[in-house]
Amino acid sequence: MSDTVTAAPLTAKDFATDQEVRWCPGCGDYSILAQVQKVMPTLGIPKENVVVVSGIGCSSRFPYYMNTFGMHSIHGRATAIASGLKAARPELSVWIVSGDGDSMSIGGNHTIHLLRRNFDVNMLVFNNQIYGLTKGQYSPTSEEHKITKSTPFGSIDHPFNPLALAMGADATFVARSMDRDPKHLQQTLIRANAHKGCSFVEIYQNCNIFNDGAFEIFTEKGTKMEETLFLENGKPLIFGATQNKGIKLDGFNPVVVELGNGVSADDLWIHDDKDFYKAQILVRMFDDPRKANHLPRPFGVFYETERLCYEDVMALQIEEVITSKGKGNLDKLLRGKEVWEIM
């Protein structure tokens, strides 16, 4: 788009706006914003071609802080707005920023349809398992029995498993990362952008006001190694304080095994993000960490596949019709087939 030949390379600063960032001090959103701003200049996309579309919620303030094109829209509809925008302008780099309430609750319908249509956009879901902007009600990803303002006796809702939902909607890129692991988040964003198709990235994000510590078991030093499983293509699923445990498939069931005593890395599940069936099992490693003998929670790219993108097929169909029928002629259209003349 730009004719500039010798423009200085962009930096993270170029993607920051003059607007004061207004998340609560200590909010996980700060880290996510920083990682996105860091990654953006490395992607080789002209700034003016980037559009960030958000819905409503704390996360959805995001566009105001990105010096790109942006729209802070209405609750749950960023996905649908982005669909129309991408269909209209396939050359744009469209980023959807949403939260667990925005994408899974009020906007759940649009989320699944965005995924099945496979628009080439990136969808970042900041999951903090709480409604922050409305001051602390449980969300569709909150754990069972959770005490919140709207559930003083504990939530009776069963939570969504966002990645399983994405797999169910035939997403072509499914990943999970966290606010407290900047490197991993950056790597995940880079891969999400590189993926041609709809990239669904769930980001665990701490709401230190209404749901502080929701993910600390996964993010804090003391427990992280034991409770998380970082996925790398071609590598065995190994975790544990001293990398002493692994995941093996027993039939269709993932089981934890101790390494050593005759069990080696070769016996473990080797990650392959192209494996559709194994990805279905992987996303189901979603045990409530409060329960005994729960499995570790995986992070990384669970699944990636190629499928034609909606906007490309839409453009192709138009091209094909024009090739076979010629460009539309308004006068011919208005005239139609059967005409009579009054003298």
Binding site: V53, N67, M71, R77, I81, A82, G84, L85, K327, E338
Partner: protein, 615 residues
């Protein structure tokens, strides 16, 4: 044997049968045949909400009314001269709308004991036999038997397939009765069944058999002829409302240079616009069948944000779902056309019946102070111009626009003296791509003299900016919760819509003097009925005039003055009184209402009666 030809000026014919009998197709074929002869016409299809209600029952009756004349036609006619009744239910449903002494052409086979029972006739009663129709000119034809007979050589076809052609027999017979050629229908059949030779030949055979039946049966001694109507010189075609609306959108796209993006979710009676637009990929039209009404409008907002001509089409229940997104479009101040083909409400209401009951919804139905222009079409062909105007206003005033049509206009047909592309006013659209003199930084909410903000689309280097549903600071567009700013912005958004009045035509009188006793003020599909009623009374020397409003928000600047020139204003509407409330509110005038809420249009006759009491 010889027949005599009788010249008629005016005929209203109603084709009625079971919804599987093909009455809509029969009606449309006769309509096209009539139009091609230069006869003026108006149609009114009337079908059940169920795709196939139980065969033979009263709710399953599908009708198609056609009014054709050598005079100007404004309505599909209050009452039918001729009824074609394919079964007992069709007769029962329509008997009250046949002129005394009118013709009833009845399919005998549709009056067997089973059909009579399904139509709730008492045991042993057959209206074709009991003399109850003596005051009508009853023509009984055993259509089913004659159809089967004429297809006896088509041994490949089963009974069901043969019977399916019986509407062609009726059409052929009516063609004979009105001195018509079969040509356009044969052409139509060739196009429809081109690859299915047997089906094609059988349909043509039955069509000819129906025609020959009239010709050779000695019962029928009179054929009728309606001469060409005197219409302004030019080229004409037949057009239906939703089709004209589609063409208007495409024309606006061509003239503005912006491709169309239609986000739509199927809903009766608006789906035909989605069907129609999806055919025109050769014009670069992008149609998106969204997952719901909300995604339909928000995807269109996304496309519009990207610089396309964003459109969404729906009917009342869909409008309700789109309301929040309309508010977003008002805040974003981007172009968007929202088409509402109104139907009977509330809730699911009467999906296939017509009503004008969404005017208040269009006018006020959003949270906050949320003004949007509203524009309404009055006849099938008028949908073209109104759609074009809706796009023009949206694009040139950076605003969402609501276009109101209704089921009656959407499915009705009339002759249309179509324009050429050169006749259409250009729609100039300019994206913001450079800073003006004296501008240091792009200001997304800096307005021009029309109070319109600049449109800078993604991909324009140096114009990156953020917009959204939160209140904007004037000029910069940054989020602002400032009290004075909010008041200023609310007033500004209102003033921007009000200012559109400077860019639309003044209200014209449709007929009658500028001053007088009664002004009949209408909007939308009541046009034909008001027009013909008022003309009739004017011919009797009554002081009555007619004005029909296309631009409902804002109103044309001279509307108040027109209203003040009359002693009384009557506002007929197919609702419980909506425009009348707005007019009273706007102009402090004691406007009178005439309301009909029966899912059908107001007739000329009833309006004449109402007006006579006022004059």
């Amino acid at each position: 044997m010889s027949t005599t030809d009788q010249i008629l000026q005016d005929v209203v014919i109603k084709f009625a049968g079971d919804s599987g009998d093909g009455m809509q197709l029969t009606g449309q074929q006769f309509t096209n045949n009539t139009a091609l002869l230069g006869i003026d016409l108006a149609t009114f299809p009337d079908f059940p909400a169920e795709i196939r209600a139980p065969i033979g029952t009263l709710p399953g009756v599908s009708g198609f009314q056609l009014h054709f004349s050598s005079n100007k036609v404004y309505t599909p006619g209050d009452i039918a001269d001729v009824l074609v009744a394919m079964n007992a239910a069709a007769l029962k449903v329509n008997l009250k709308s046949i002129k005394p002494g009118g013709k009833i052409i009845a399919n005998i086979d549709g009056f067997d004991s089973k059909n009579l029972r399904l139509a709730n006739y008492p045991d042993g009663i057959n209206p074709l036999e009991d003399g109850s129709l003596d005051s009508y000119d009853l023509i009984k034809i055993d259509v089913t038997k004659l159809t089967r007979e004429s297809l006896k050589d088509f041994t490949d076809l089963g009974v069901k397939e043969r019977d399916r052609a019986k509407n062609m027999f009726v059409l052929g017979f009516i063609y004979w009765m009105y001195n018509r050629s079969l040509e356009n229908t044969i052409e139509f059949l060739k196009e429809k069944f081109g690859k299915k030779e047997t089906i094609l030949q059988s349909n043509i055979k039955v069509l000819q058999a129906g025609y020959n039946y009239g010709d050779t049966t000695e019962t029928f001694t009179t054929r009728y002829k309606v001469e060409k109507a005197k219409m302004p010189a030019g080229l004409y075609r037949s057009i239906m409302g939703n089709q004209a609306l589609t063409y208007g959108l495409i024309a606006a796209s061509e003239k503005s240079g912006l491709p169309i993006f239609l986000g739509s979710y199927p809903i009766t009676p608006a789906s035909d616009i989605l069907h129609e637009l999806s055919k025109y990929k050769s014009f670069g039209v992008k149609t998106f069948q969204a997952e719901d009404e909300i995604a339909a409008i928000t995807s269109a907002i996304g496309a519009s944000y990207g610089g396309l001509l964003g459109i969404t089409t729906t009917s009342g229940p869909g409008m309700a779902l789109k309301a929040e997104a309309m508010g977003l479009a008002v805040m974003l101040e981007i172009p968007l056309v929202i088409v509402n083909i109104q139907r009977g409400g509330p809730s699911t209401g009467l999906p296939t019946k017509t009503e004008q009951s969404d005017l208040m919804q269009a006018y006020y139905g959003r949270n906050g102070e949320c003004p949007m222009p509203v524009i309404a079409s009055s006849t099938p062909s008028d949908c073209f111009e109104v759609a074009y105007e809706a796009c023009r206003i949206a694009l040139q005033h950076m605003t969402p626009v609501i276009l109101l049509s209704d089921g009656y206009i959407a499915n009705g047909a009339e002759p249309w003296r179509f324009p050429t592309s050169n006749d259409l006013k250009p729609i100039n659209v300019k994206f913001k791509t450079s800073l003006d003199e004296g501008e240091e930084k792009f200001m997304p909410y800096k307005r021009d003299e029309k109070l319109v903000r600049p449109w800078a689309i993604p991909g324009t280097a140096g114009f990156e900016h953020r917009i959204g549903g939160l209140e904007k600071q004037d000029i910069t567009g940054n989020v602002s919760y400032d009290a004075d700013n909010h008041q200023h912005m609310v007033k500004t958004r209102q003033a921007k819509v009000d200012k559109i009045a400077d860019h639309i035509p003044l209200q014209k009188m449709d007929s009658g003097a500028d001053k007088g006793k009664v002004l009949v003020l209408g909007w939308g599909s009541t046009y034909g009925a008001i027009k013909s009623a008022v003309l009739e009374l004017q011919a009797q020397g009554k002081s009555v005039s007619h004005a029909h409003i296309r631009y409902i928000r804002p109103f044309p600047k001279n509307l108040g003055e027109i209203i003040s020139n009359f002693e009384t204003v009557l506002i007929p509407e197919i609702n419980n009184g909506q425009l009348v409330k707005i007019i009273r509110d706007e102009y402090m005038v004691d406007a009178k209402a005439y309301n009909k809420i029966m899912g059908v249009p107001i007739t000329k006759g009833e309006l004449v009666d109402v007006l006579k009491k006022m004059l």
